[in-house]
């Protein structure tokens, strides 16, 4: 199998229909593939963060061409070297964390502080304020993939309990095969 390399690309600009396809088309033209991609329209802006891979010469060519192409299309494009994918550290397991709470300022701060205090690494996080369909009140919904030191699991549960947010924390894969299921729920 021929050698492949990867790069991280970030693009930001004013949103307009067709931008996502324009970027995807440039990647395909360069014979590169998306490893991981997120495109988002936030307010009047379009933002895209992606990890692309391909033959080293193709990736290099794409990295050279994208910023100039972006300028022509009103996008600010930056590219970055691919660093080692960290993945879980020794003794760590991945957990899925879900939070559903009544919106109030500082929830992300409170939650990430609780995780940071227990040396939990946040690998992925998606959060959004939504209008509840029933009551019209604002709710805060969060889904995250976190890496937790198994020896500090109960400490993490206690820290999450102290945030007074309703949460579900479940292992992405069984950390104790054959043992007790490792999960915690607050607010049930």
């Amino acid at each position: 199998m021929s050698a492949r390399t990867a790069a991280v690309v970030v693009a930001v600009g004013s949103d307009r229909p067709g931008l996502a396809n324009s970027v995807a088309h440039r990647v395909k033209e360069a014979d590169c593939t998306f490893e991981d991609a997120r495109m988002e329209t936030l307010g009047s802006y379009f933002a895209m963060m992606m990890r692309i891979s391909g033959a080293p010469s193709n990736v290099e060519r794409l990295r050279k061409r994208l910023p100039g192409w972006g300028r022509e299309h009103g996008l600010d494009v930056s590219t970055f070297d691919d660093l080692r994918e960290p993945g879980p550290r020794p003794g760590e397991s991945r957990f899925s964390l879900r939070v559903d709470a009544i919106e109030r300022t500082g929830i992300v701060d409170r939650l990430t502080r609780a995780l940071s205090d227990c040396d939990v690494n946040v690998a992925r996080l998606d959060a959004k304020i939504i209008h509840s369909a029933f009551s019209g009140e604002l709710r805060f919904i969060l889904e995250a993939l976190v890496e937790v030191q198994e020896s500090r699991l109960s400490e993490v549960w206690d820290a999450l309990d102290e945030t007074e947010l309703d949460y579900v924390l479940i292992p992405v894969t069984d950390v104790r095969a054959g043992g007790a299921p490792a999960f915690a729920v607050r607010g049930a």
């Binding site: 991981d36 990890r51 009544i102």
Partner: protein, 250 residues
């Protein structure tokens, strides 16, 4: 480990919990058995609901988009969100990923003009200190960019054998159908069988009349796919959490 501690809760905490739409189905069984919870439920439903942020809670606020990227290390998400909270800003949308060893974060932040300006300055200093590239753009929604009321948001989920051009093919048929990609999230997943698929979820703003042509065009591609209105997809998230709880209980 604390799975259930409702007996330790204050009446206010418990009332809030009982009325939580996510847990109401489970509580309804419990209410038949527990006099204390039943009394609280009756009191909470009889009196006006406690004050909570309503739809217009952030109506007068401005917004800004923030994008940050740098070498990943633990604690970055917390330091950034803490900084914004100190400046009096609220995070309306947060997307964080580890991409190729980099920490990447995309935020939509709400606040009054002063708070957003304070956040812009603080975040720039934070970026320099942490060696994170960070940009913050104030939102400038203009009349011509106002959302079209005839469009509805649909969620397309698709999985394809990993190959070059999957995102291009999908977004091209969306453009041809008159759709506008509002959100896309996809990655290569390595299956137990050894092969790789590219799994993607795309939110598309589309006129309902254009849904049929889009579905036909997607079906013609070599992908497995499903399209549903976003509100239906999001309400099923709460359903999945409830199912998960039931699985845990059993």
């Amino acid at each position: 480990m604390k799975i259930e501690r409702h007996l330790d809760m204050t009446p206010d905490e418990l009332s809030e919990l009982i009325l939580h739409p996510m847990f109401l189905p489970r509580w309804s069984d419990h209410l038949d058995k527990c006099d204390r919870c039943y009394a609280l439920f009756k009191a909470a439903t009889a009196s006006p609901a406690p004050e909570r942020p309503g739809e217009d809670a952030y109506a007068g606020f401005e917004s800004a988009m923030l994008i940050a990227i740098g070498r990943d290390r633990p604690g970055l998400a917390h330091s950034l969100s803490s900084l914004l909270a100190v400046c009096g800003c609220t995070i309306e949308t947060a997307r964080m990923r580890q991409l190729g060893g980099h920490f990447t974060m995309l935020l939509r932040v709400l606040g009054d003009s002063e708070s957003l300006e304070a956040a812009r300055r603080s975040v720039a200093r934070w970026g320099e200190a942490e060696e994170i590239e960070v940009e913050m753009h104030r939102d400038v929604r203009t009349a011509e960019r106002a959302p079209r009321r005839d469009l509805r948001l649909f969620r397309l989920r698709a999985a394809a054998h990993e190959r070059a051009g999957v995102v291009d093919e999908l977004t091209a048929v969306i453009v041809e159908a008159g759709g506008d990609v509002k959100h896309l999230d996809g990655r290569i997943e390595r299956r137990e069988s050894g092969h790789q698929t590219f799994d993607v979820q795309i939110d598309v703003a589309l006129a309902e009349a254009d849904l049929g042509p889009l579905m036909r065009a997607v079906r013609a591609l070599d992908v497995r796919s499903m399209i549903e209105p976003v509100e239906a997809a999001e309400s099923s998230v709460a359903g999945r959490i409830t199912e998960l709880r039931k699985e845990m209980e059993s």
